[in-house]
Amino acid sequence: MPNPDSHTQAEQKKWLEKIRALALPEKVRIMNVCGGHERAISMAGLRSVLPDNIELIPGPGCPVCICPEEDVYDAIQLALQENVTLVAFGDMLRVPVNVPRGEVKSLEQARAAGADIRPIASPMEAVQLAQQLAHQQVVFFATGFETTTAPVAAMLAAGVPDNLSVLLSARLTWPAVAMLLDSETPGFDALVAPGHVSTVMGAEEWRFVADKHHLPAAVAGFTAESLLAGFYSTLRQLDEDKAFLDNCYPEAVTAEGNPAARKILDQVMEVVDANWRGVGVIPASGFALRGAYKKHDARKRFPVLQNDHAARRRVGAMPPGCDCARVVLGKLYPNECRLYGSACTPRSPIGPCMVSDEGACRIWWSSGVREPVTTTQDEAQDKLSQHMVV
């Protein structure tokens, strides 16, 4: 039987050879919008094996990073001031808000100050906890993109105890890409669309990239082979000057996605304009509970969630000196931030992009990029070659 490893290596080699054979412009920038993609790219050292003129740009792929500062602040205040049990995905606990020194600046600090805050890994845990604590208000601070929001909708559709409410801070992925493409400087020439978001929502959701903006787009999975296939597809489209939407991840992605999941999402939530941390309001990019589900809306249940953010907020939504806002939009590589690796590391993160497993700063750091800007992109990426799979 052939060794599966040598099979995948042969696959990777095949795609790389195909990519190298293309006549490409001096510079091509391919954006990904998924923390899972960026992690797979960094871990596999794909930047260092691709031709130099191909840049891989991590874009808005981290829901924790773009969760509005005011929502995190509200969650902290709720947990501190009301007799509630607040649950959130673990990543959210260390996300810092922008408050004066000495004030509680994360859910983790609020917990240390006595608030009842618990990390969960699944919406099912929120329901179980609400059942156990029948006389206690349980609030689920629900952040995430479509892969997480559909389960949150399923949780509500299946029925939850009255004492469970949701502080909803979920976002759609594609509107951020649409916003970049509508701007004067999108900053990329092709898009690799997120695999598991498309598993739920369908590949068709990304058709606008090719049809409306004439940029190549390909849905890709998370193996090096699938990513390379996605890169090759978009590069070939550029080469042939023919932009379309390709699906390089048919193992898990269909044109329509998971129709039942989309139906449940639509039953429980409507799409609304929503703020992205450091970015601003993006039209039709967030969710609000519909009809009967509104009774589980934490914002309606707790007046303490109506904070005046304009009055308290210091300049900017990110912590002082942190460049996450530009990192998130793919305008800056993580190691171009002045604090990267010096003041800001995973052990003492300054901004959300270093806190979250999906944040580009965190991913680059954990895949071994230790050099700040003073070295070039390529040199920094070459250090990754020890993790090369090709």
Binding site: C34, E251, A252, S366, H387
Partner: protein
Amino acid sequence: MCLGIPMQIKGIDGFVAHCEAKGVRRDVNLFLLQEANLQPGDYVLVHVGYALQKISEAHARSAWELFDKILQSEAEQYHA
């Protein structure tokens, strides 16, 4: 992260499937795949405790390999 993990269904009890991946057992919610007519032995992509899509055995295996690589290289970095 928006990354599903493949698991194999061992048994189904209403909307809950008892699943396994590489020796780890978990209860997985099938609410989002209620129209998929899943059976024990099938593979699903699981995220935050919910099955998002049915996948083939071959795809489950290649995804597991990828996770091993990611975990391994992270562990190495962390202890470096």
